[in-house]
Amino acid sequence: VVNNSPTALELDDIQRGVLHPRPSPYVGTYLLLRIADRRVGRALLRQLIPVIASAADPMNPDGDTWVSVSLTFQGLNALGVPEHSLASFPLEFQQGMAARAAILGDVDESSPVLWEKPFGTGDVHIAVVVLSPDAARRDVLLERVEKAYPAVEGVKVIYRQDARVLATGREPFGFKDGISQPAVEGSLIKGSNHLEGALKAGEFVLGYPDEDGALAPIPQPDALGRNGTYVVFRKLHQQVAAFRQYLRANAASPEDQTLLAAKMMGRWPSGAPLVLSPDRDDPTLGQDPAGNNEFLYHVDDPTGLRCPAGAHARRANPRDAFRDELIGINRLHRIIRRSTSYGPPLPDGVLDDDGADRGIVFVAIQAHIKRQFEFVQTQWVNDGIFRGAPGEKDPIVGPNDGTGVFTIPRQPVRRRIRGLPRFVINRGGEYCFMPGLRALAWLAELDS
């Protein structure tokens, strides 16, 4: 059924974290819970629902603070969701991230056998995310969440990860991130790039027409699936010292190190895109939300002389890069990123690893895990076939093994760096379903 008419989004039923960009600056806490007793699990949901903001709630005048709740496949099972309903979820969600490690490139140091517990063990049932502009307000909200845990056995917090923006305002490698925000039809939130049209709501919220022009099948019953979405969590440890050592070993000068890092990332440390500022960083542009994402690749930089086709940002979101090709349709493979930094920063200039755990909690939101997150990860980040460079992987986050290659177009002769190791290690992750608010109530009222 082709349906191109705009459909009003039921914003009051969609969790706020689905459509709203995270606050900036931010403080966040991720809690993972295990349900031992389904009745207690349902009671917990009943307590949590009033704390969860919807996309229709007005933003606090002094900043945006909210709680999001999502569940793994095991979590839905633990709550007693009927078998026929469980079977209506897509296979990749049923299997979970750990089972898809080989497909996702989560091998070697990123292999699930090395993941932090409880990731990938089947014990993670519920993920609660609390996000706020500062610690004080986060703690108020966290206290309300903690009151929802029953004093009795039956539900247990088995993992906590705090995250907060670093003092630099940048992720651990030293780059401003969280810049790109796709426009979503009916969300009332502006996208960060006016050169790209709004995406159909069905790419990010279940129950609405998507970019295929149709209503995709949603988990059944509708009361459970409608207004839900899928959330991909990955705790990505960043080897900052190794990254800096690599830059020093492969660049001719400190300025060249900055250039090389920017070519690998696709943006300068300030966030200024290479396409708009090819030769040097432009902090004014980097800080300008109206300008720092306003560009295309095919139109502005078809040969990659400014931003290499293999750069991280250009891989993860190639925009119009495949305009003249029939496949690689960017609009079918967009995700909403909601990542936050964790751990202490490695001080400037330090080249030796201090053993600290630091990185980002990568969060991706989409209606189709396979067509969106998994496609981007497997085809564009982990592989180079799509652009005729099958030997090259993403130089920043790709599963390189010490023999990675990265090509930087340049005139008269291209530059090529070799021996890339893996700079980012997956310490564990989960595929979650983030139901609408009425669906959470449906789950809380199950009586099996």
């Binding site: 049923q94 149709a214 003249d324 029939l326 496949i327 998994e374 099958p390």
Partner: protein, 177 residues
């Protein structure tokens, strides 16, 4: 615990095309509707012999930029049809992209003569993308063996190599003239 049901869409079905280096194969075996054999053969002959149609077909496949080749083989007295292609990457992963291309319209001109497909172009145009995916993946078979002489080369690399070789030969021509 993984549950697989009949309602699961083919986008979630296991990969079927065998991989050789950077490319995977797509082989689809179809039965021709009884009485439509001659129409199908005439259609494919015309596609081949009509220079305009032939050029159009080649351009559609070339514009994919990851399809090495395609062939349509009628066998068993034209009662069956094999579609065989080689595709850079995984067909399974690109299936959503592929079904939005003109290839589907182009193929539907002869798929209407095959069992399981609508009888005419109007019916083909009305079929949803999910139904098309279901139709082709349901008839897809995995090659018992798939071998390529240049397993590490993509279509884009081959086309680029061809350009470079042409330029190099031109250079040699100019240097020796």
């Amino acid at each position: 615990m993984a549950v697989q049901t009949e309602t699961m869409k083919p986008a979630a079905s296991p990969r079927k095309g065998r991989r050789a280096g950077v490319a995977s194969e797509l082989s689809v075996l179809l039965k021709v509707k009884p009485g439509r054999e001659q129409q199908l053969r005439e259609h494919l002959n015309k596609e081949r012999e009509d220079t305009v149609q032939d050029a159009e077909g080649r351009k559609i496949l070339a514009d994919i930029q990851t399809l090495h080749e395609a062939r349509y083989v009628l066998f068993d007295d034209d009662t069956r049809l094999l579609i065989a292609t080689s595709f850079d990457g995984d067909w399974d992963v690109y299936i959503d992209d592929f079904f939005r291309t003109k290839v589907l319209t182009y193929w539907s001109r002869f798929l209407i003569h095959c069992e399981g497909a609508p009888d005419d172009l109007a019916g083909a145009a009305a079929l949803s993308l999910d139904d098309w995916k279901e139709f082709l993946t349901a008839h897809q078979v995995t090659a018992a063996e798939y071998i390529r002489t240049y397993p590490d080369l993509t279509v884009k690399q081959i086309l680029k190599a061809q350009q470079v070789m042409t330029a190099f030969q031109q250079l040699l021509d100019e240097a020796s003239s």
